[in-house]
Amino acid sequence: MGRGRLVALALAGFAALLTGCGPDSASLVEEPSVGAGAPAHGDTFIEATIGDIAGLIPNITSDGASHEVGNMIYDGLVKADKDLNFVGAMAESWEFSSDCLELTWKLKRNIKWHDGHPFTAEDVLFTYQAMINPKTPTAYKEDFLAVKSAEVVDPYTFRVRYTRPLAKAVQSWSMWMLPKHLLEKYVADGKLKESPENSRPVGTGPYRFQEWKSGEKVVLVSNNEYYEGRPYLGRVVYRVIPNQGTIFLELKAKGVDLASLTAIQYARQTEYPAFRKAFRKYRYPSSAYTYFGFNLKDPRFADRRVRQAFAHAIDKQELMEGVLMGLAREATGPIRPGSWAYTNKVTRYEYSPAKAKALLAEAGWKDSGDGVLRDKDGKAFSFTIRTNQGNEERKKVAEILQQRLAAIGVKTEIQVIEWASFIKEFIKKKRFEAVVLGWGVGTDPDQYSVWHSSQMGPDQLNQISYANPEVDQLLEEGRASCQQQERIKYYHRFQEVLAEDQPLVFLYFRDALPVVSSRVQGIQPAPSGIFYNFIQWYVPKQVQRYTSG
């Protein structure tokens, strides 16, 4: 991975040189001018994916590519809409009991599996049982283990009871539903991986599986009986191209229709007329943020003023410019911008080395004239910032932080460590001082496992050992309610407290930067991105490039 990135960078420099001069990419110019033609079925849509899929039953995979392909083949009961709210997918409606403990689902009728078998509540029950089966190697059990009982009321009604109210309950049923009639015996034997459906999947989603050539491509064809209407794009091909530089060249040669750009590609290498004509670029906040975290068991970082001082010492604008050419948004807290629980009305820390120094002085760190901060015993303030290997972005962040901290008299070293050792030797054993890392955040604001003081164990996620009784209570209340209006209050307060406390310095949410061939119409960017209405994307008849079956 590290090598791949290096290559991409090397290429970046070279391609920039090329685009500056000469008749670059003559092949890109002859595209017929794309007008807004009428929606039409057909054409093949080619996506580049950097990694091969790991398997075709997404429930037991944990890589992005498998989930992307899985989303096309399988559906859940609910899905996130363009504004990141959950709406029914295969569910017609759902209802909580007044104590929030019982959740009743009404399913849409006339949904069929790709093999023609009808989809019913039995399949939902089966999926639940498969997920909690100890022999099923899935990473997504947690929310299902909270279920006390589940029952099929009638073929189109399904009911679950929870031991405690679980706010994420609805979201958890966006899990891909699996066909009972095909997989029952494999789940019982703990052989889900070996089932034929893991290489020839049968789902209920908008696309049917056609072919998987390991390391090469995955081919899907549209499901013409899809319950939300037949998708326009007739065929979707995922091409495995393990190198970011190659993906970019394929894009320029029009070998792929969709790819994610790097920041430098987005800002510097795609701003020439031929590219702008052949592709449309999109930009929206992704669901992952980068942070500068501290081990709060370390007395130096346990002092809130020190963390606030660091927040003041960092110029987030400069950071985003330097690392991502500004293609990111400042993070004020851990909730995904654009989602219903998000607020930015929280304490901000403007860039001010003076304020930072004042706060540090208050906390007992004084400059004795040599530009180095020392405590009362004369010990200098210095520590190591650690981050994982293979992520150039985080390394650059660490370097900029190092420089900014040096400016206020704090000396830091940077150490970059291979991911698995990093987690095992430093994070889990809590043998770190400061880290640059990231969190991916879900659509639901519940972040109990990251911030609650009960989650500090070596295998748990509150690695920085953050403990704040108010936050604990807010998290408990937030996850125990099934009323969004009520939860909003808790999560707004939660963000305020975190911003005040700065248990870690929230740096930025990176922007997602997809680029799509301009012959594809019907894309409507929204807070959740562009992919929510994929089945409505189409290519007008006159500009279709491939015939598809």
């Binding site: 290429l11 990419s25 091969d52 070996e194 390391g215 190659t246 320029k252 070998g255």
Partner: protein, 330 residues
């Protein structure tokens, strides 16, 4: 001779066992586990009991020597187990899928390299310090010094993006099924031109320099002098008497490059998106897919041992001065 081969073959068994044992230990000692949830941002959390259950399922809960023994007893029956990755397919199937293309590419590359390097080496030796010698020396060293990923990208930009003559990556076009037989062959071939060109260019230097050196030494030998003195034509002297002897060390080097044939190059495969052995192995390492890594290792180790043996035997065959068996100890 037969005795020698047999003895070497028998000696290879404990050696192979040793290799697998050490690899097995080292691989398992590396941090990280093939349990789901170890993904990049630690986003998922599995209850302890679940992790235990999965480790049990994979047999990872047992002591290391027991795991090794279990693995070994299966391998002697040629059962390399199933991949730990979510597709759960047998290791041998996965390797069999990837091996042909890697083998094909490497064999073609090797043939081209030999076919070019031997004449280049011979000519630069017989015309030492001539313009030809200087130019080829420069050429092969430029090839040697050029990073292959960089050259690959340059060629892709030129032939793939700018000129549009050759496909950039992959093995087949998407409309491959709809092409006629000959179009299919051309399509496949055209995808291989760039990767083969890049590897060949980079690989020429070693062998051609070796050939040149060996040839230079040979032409100074007395028997070459004798051949010339007999009045044989220069062509016969070089082509018949000198070349044969000069090829000896080159054959040894070639023998040692045989195991590399199935290894595959990660850099070339990832740049050209070729689904070969190199990528498979790296993917296996990242996923901590122990059965896959071990399966791959056993095959490469076995081939290396065989290639060594093969090189030794051929050496004896082509050079009668080297006596095998007897008191020779190795």
């Amino acid at each position: 001779m037969l005795l020698f081969a047999l003895r070497r073959l028998l000696l290879a068994i404990p050696l192979l066992l040793g290799i697998t044992f050490v690899s097995f230990i080292v691989i398992h000692l590396a941090p990280g586990e093939p349990v789901p949830g170890g993904e990049e941002d630690l986003g998922r959390q599995l209850p302890k009991e679940v992790v235990e259950k999965i480790r049990e399922l994979y047999g990872l809960d047992k002591p290391l020597h027991v795991q090794y023994w279990n693995w070994l007893t299966r391998v002697v029956r040629l059962d390399f187990g199933k991949s730990f990755q979510p597709d759960g397919r047998p290791v041998l199937t996965k390797i069999r899928e990837r091996l042909p293309i890697t083998l094909f590419l490497n064999v073609v590359e090797l043939i081209i390299i030999v076919a070019l390097a031997v004449p280049i080496g011979v000519l630069s030796a017989t015309r030492q310090y001539s313009t030809f010698d200087k130019v080829t020396t420069l050429f092969v060293f430029v090839g040697f010094a050029t990073p292959d990923f960089w050259l690959a990208l340059l060629l892709m930009i030129l032939f793939g993006v700018q000129l549009g003559w050759l496909p950039i990556s992959g093995l087949r076009s998407l409309n491959w099924e709809y092409l006629s037989f000959w179009q299919q062959q051309w399509d496949f071939l055209s995808h291989l031109i760039l990767p083969i060109a890049v590897v060949t260019f980079g690989g020429l230097a070693g062998l051609s320099r070796y050939m040149r050196q060996s040839m230079l030494e040979t032409v100074r030998q007395d028997y070459v002098q004798t051949a010339r003195a007999k009045g044989l034509s220069e062509g016969t002297v070089i082509g018949k008497h000198a070349l044969r002897n000069a090829l000896l060390p080159v054959v040894t080097v070639l023998g040692l490059s045989l195991p590399g044939l199935i290894g595959g190059s990660v850099i070339i495969e990832s740049i050209f998106a070729i689904p070969g052995m190199g990528l498979l192995m790296v993917q296996g390492v990242f996923a901590r897919d122990y059965p896959l890594i071990m399966g791959n290792l056993v095959i490469v180790a076995t081939l290396t041992l065989f290639a060594n043996l093969f090189a030794d035997i051929t050496y004896g065959l082509v050079d009668p001065r080297i006596r095998l068996g007897g008191r020779r100890r190795r």
